[in-house]
Symmetry: C2
Subunit: 123 residues, 2 copies
DNA sequence: TTTATTGTATTATTTAGATAGTACAATAGT
DNA sequence: ACTATTGTACTATCTAAATAATACAATAAA
């Protein structure tokens, strides 16, 4: 799967979010070994330093941990992962509703519009 | 109203989006005179050059136009404004659904969760 | 024991965005 | 005619992010 990074935001932030997504979505499982910094950097078409910076931050929050020379692993704390999933969903929803409101759509309007969108109506 | 700019994304992009929002939401009306570059820059606590850059882009897309020395004005093309509103809403919805999907929520799940959120349930 | 791979650290350079400061031409308002 | 305000342009500097190029210590694997 491509990493799909854009240049409108700091890359290391996008990497952090991407890996977080992959963890909570189950692409990576608790205890899984991550590819090495160099491999990940190459896969993302990014400088190893940038990847290292993102991983260091993920490590700071406890989502991953590293074992000197054997590699880097996803946390086995499934509760933490579940909590993160809820937290990210809450943030996305809040941010989305706020933006729509700034566009002039009330909450119920937004939901109606979304349902229409899902059902494939152009307008 | 505060401009609420963050440092995670280029400021001039955030300004463009903010003014777009204000236009489609009806904060500014067609034909309205905008404050001067210098005033807007001060209001946003931003360098005049940055504000100028954002306004130049809004002008390029036709949303605003400037009359040398009298000032800058919102377009009177109400159709264009309506179209922009729909376009922005479509983008927001698509982006939101995509992000939620990456988190592991299907479209119907997302809507259900949103409805719960709106009704004030913590979980 | 040797070798390759791991995470990690360091220094230098480049680039885009933002700021700072100044300047000028056009014109509305006086 | 004069003045202030307008958009606009230009150059220089600063900063954070990203890249580039190495280097080193620890250890799993051979």
């Amino acid at each position: 799967m491509p990493w799909n990074l854009d240049s409108d935001r700091p890359i290391f932030l996008q990497i952090i979010e991407k890996i977080q997504m992959d963890i909570v979505a189950g692409v990576y499982h608790p205890g899984d070994k991550l590819p090495s910094v160099r491999e990940l950097a190459q896969a993302a078409a990014v400088n190893p330093n940038t990847m290292q910076k993102a991983l260091a931050e993920l490590e700071r929050t406890g989502l991953v941990y590293s074992q000197r020379t054997s590699g880097r692993f996803i946390t086995e704390d499934t509760a933490m992962i579940q909590e993160l999933k809820s937290e990210l969903a809450r943030e996305l929803i809040a941010e989305f509703l706020e933006h729509m409101q700034k566009l002039g759509f009330e909450e119920q309007e937004t939901i109606d519009l979304m349902e229409k969108t899902i059902r494939g109506e152009t307008k």
